[in-house]
Symmetry: C2
């Protein structure tokens, strides 16, 4: 199926709403080009330093953290109806133990600008190059957030990924969750 190119903010609403409902799939690759997917429920779309940017939050304990630190890029993919189980799996097992692309029958499609591929089964894909990163500062977080989200002190690193390209299936609206 043919994918069309979209402007960075065109699908901001759909992307954020699916993120909230079921999660998005963040894809990274290892040195050999083997892709890995992780479910993300937190993230931001916006603009800074004259660039459209997708901010993702990754805990240092994650395999995705190791990969994005090495390659400096990632994609964010918006799943479609019927992918609920795959999204759940990608949020519960680690790419260190399981080949999630194989397990989920994901088809990697080569990105145009980054090493990480997009997922062929997903409706929308953002190609992002990490242009800035920053660790969250525990002292600036509220006590509620610390006890709710960081009981183990595993604070997220924020990656600001310049959005280099957004592609989607023409009928993405009908496809998404």
């Amino acid at each position: 199926m043919e994918r069309i190119e979209l402007s960075p903010f065109q699908v901001a609403r759909e992307t954020l709403e699916v993120m909230l409902k079921t999660g998005l799939l963040m894809v990274t690759v290892d040195e050999k080009g083997k892709p890995n997917a992780m479910t993300i429920g937190w993230g931001f779309i916006g603009y800074i330093w004259t660039k459209p940017v997708f901010i993702v939050a990754v805990r240092p304990s994650r395999y995705t953290y190791t990969l994005v630190e090495k390659t400096g890029d990632f994609t964010v993919n918006v799943p479609v109806k019927g992918m609920e189980k795959a999204v759940e799996l990608c949020g519960t097992v680690s790419g260190r133990d399981v080949d999630k692309f194989k397990e989920c029958n994901f088809t990697p499609i080569a990105s145009k600008y980054v090493k990480a591929p997009i997922i062929g089964e997903c409706a929308i894909g953002f190609e992002c190059r990490a242009m800035y990163k920053q660790d969250l500062i525990s002292e600036a977080l509220t006590k509620e957030v610390v006890s709710l989200c960081y009981p183990k002190g595993d604070y997220h690193r924020l990656y600001f990924g310049e959005i280099l390209r957004v592609t989607a299936y023409r009928n993405y609206r009908e496809l998404i969750l």
Copy 2:
């Protein structure tokens, strides 16, 4: 004119597109309740720590910085067609010298959850309470960004504002720039 309440991401696309085209108006208040507006061209809409969040970037030299540091809240307003000159003014003069609400004939409308009012002339308004803040780290920025955006070393502070309420005029689509 009656304002309706929207879900946080419903107008993400429109808000980001107007931000890119002409800018949005960030409103803060001083201790006496006097409001000030500053044009912002950079920002993010997303979700983190189980909350919808609007991230804004403010330089320490700005009057807005002094105010948001004191009150801890702000609103983000999406201007309408015909407000181009006001948006330009609010991006060039300081609230220390000029009463921008008076100068621009802005009507402050009381927010429901924060001290900063929304601008009655704007199509959409986000009520935000700063729940986290973090200064940009110069060493993590690229040389291009530093020379393009920070020649004076005036690095932004990012404010993560929990979006407590979004209101808009029913016909916001027709009104916006």
